[in-house]
Amino acid sequence: MSVARTWRTRRQRYSLVGERCEYCHNAIFPPRDVCPHCAEPAQKEYTMSGRGTVYSYTTVFDPPAGFEAYAPYPVALVKLDEGPMVTAQLTDLDPDDVRIGMPVEMVTRKLSEQGDEGVITYSYKFRERLERQAVAA
């Protein structure tokens, strides 16, 4: 990812900042000029909760440049609780531990590095959801 593109997309990458359509009220991610559901323009910024479930997944053994250090790693289609489907790496688990329907939550992690001297790109990934223990009565 170029330094300029890394910079332009930082808000959506760091914290899943998308939009919610003012006309049909659907959540939209990534943000775009026109609502994909009703084709109306000018959307309102909306930050996703970061919670979702694994819709499908695969394991990457032969990664693109910049991702070599992390291979093999699981990549999933995550259906966010708000509706949008996001393609993202899963983290903090072994590829064998992934299952369809697994509840996940967004974390901000290192996505790639341009060698030892280049910029570090941070982005959303998803991990198995950590549940808080019930409050003792």
Partner: protein, 357 residues
Amino acid sequence: MSLENGISLMKPLRPVGIVGYGAYVPRYRLPASEVARVWSGRDAELPIVEKAVAGLDEDTATMSIEAARNALARAGVDPKRIRAVWVGSESHPYAVKPTSTIVAEALDIVPLTQAADWEFACKAGTEAMQAAIAFVGSGMADYALSIGMDTAQGRPGDALEYTAAAGGAAMLLGPAEQSLALIEASLSYVTDTPDFWRRAHAHYPSHGQRFTGEPAYFHHVISAAEMMLEGMGRTAADYRYAVLHQPNSKFPQRAAKQLGFRKEQIETGLLAPIIGNTYAGSSLIGLTAVLDEAQPGDRVLVVSFGSGAGSDAFSLEITGAITTAQRQALTTKEYIERRSEIDYATYARYRGKMLMK
């Protein structure tokens, strides 16, 4: 030991407290016995049980973001009202480019905020907290975020490799009336003591071997703690909890005993045996474990230590707001219980240990 020449404890003009706190401990654990197996045989005396190790895609920025998200979840404060983001660490991802702007952006605190990285070995986090107290206490800001976080590195085979760990905590400082823990007073105690260092282009730190004990850790921690107790007109018995910087299991226990603290007062915040030394995160993450269990009215003494060398001491009193705040984010214990053991080979890969000098 007393404060000299009429110098008193530090207190801001406007009362300040902790309004939100959050911890982060990565998932992986390297048992000290595994380091011993590789480097010194199985019979070595082990300074801790195991240490927390960051995953391949984690660094001080990502761990700070998660701890800060937990602090904000507990505080329920609009991020735009936070006017400082200060990250203390000795493992900032960049030599030049602040960690703090990455954290501020991820938490939507930008653009009207101070952002800076702090350095003072293991007390960089409490150094940032002192400044945050002043920033809020002066009235310049209503909220200031201070973080102590590290992915500490030891040279392969060095004594520090058993303990150099990853983790830390975020503290959001704000007006005392909104706080879950009031800052009663603070104190900083510093001398020029070369017990541990890393030159600008060196990958791993060096240390003064046995020099790290008496003149460095014990002198600064005990001096700062004793001055705080005397300045407050109290003894160890007046505190429910004490949290001291934890380079290993032994040092904080010995210092606490010398100060008159009993085991029950320090065990809640003593995390080094099970997560290692998280450097700039060490005393602050110990404090989060205490805050997770503290009750209104409890008093807490926190003393950090940073090589080079110095200590920051804080006297806290827990308020009624603690009870609801405790459950708004994952507890420190919940993070610690999320545990995957790794072997030395996996550790070497995760931490880029193939570099040997």
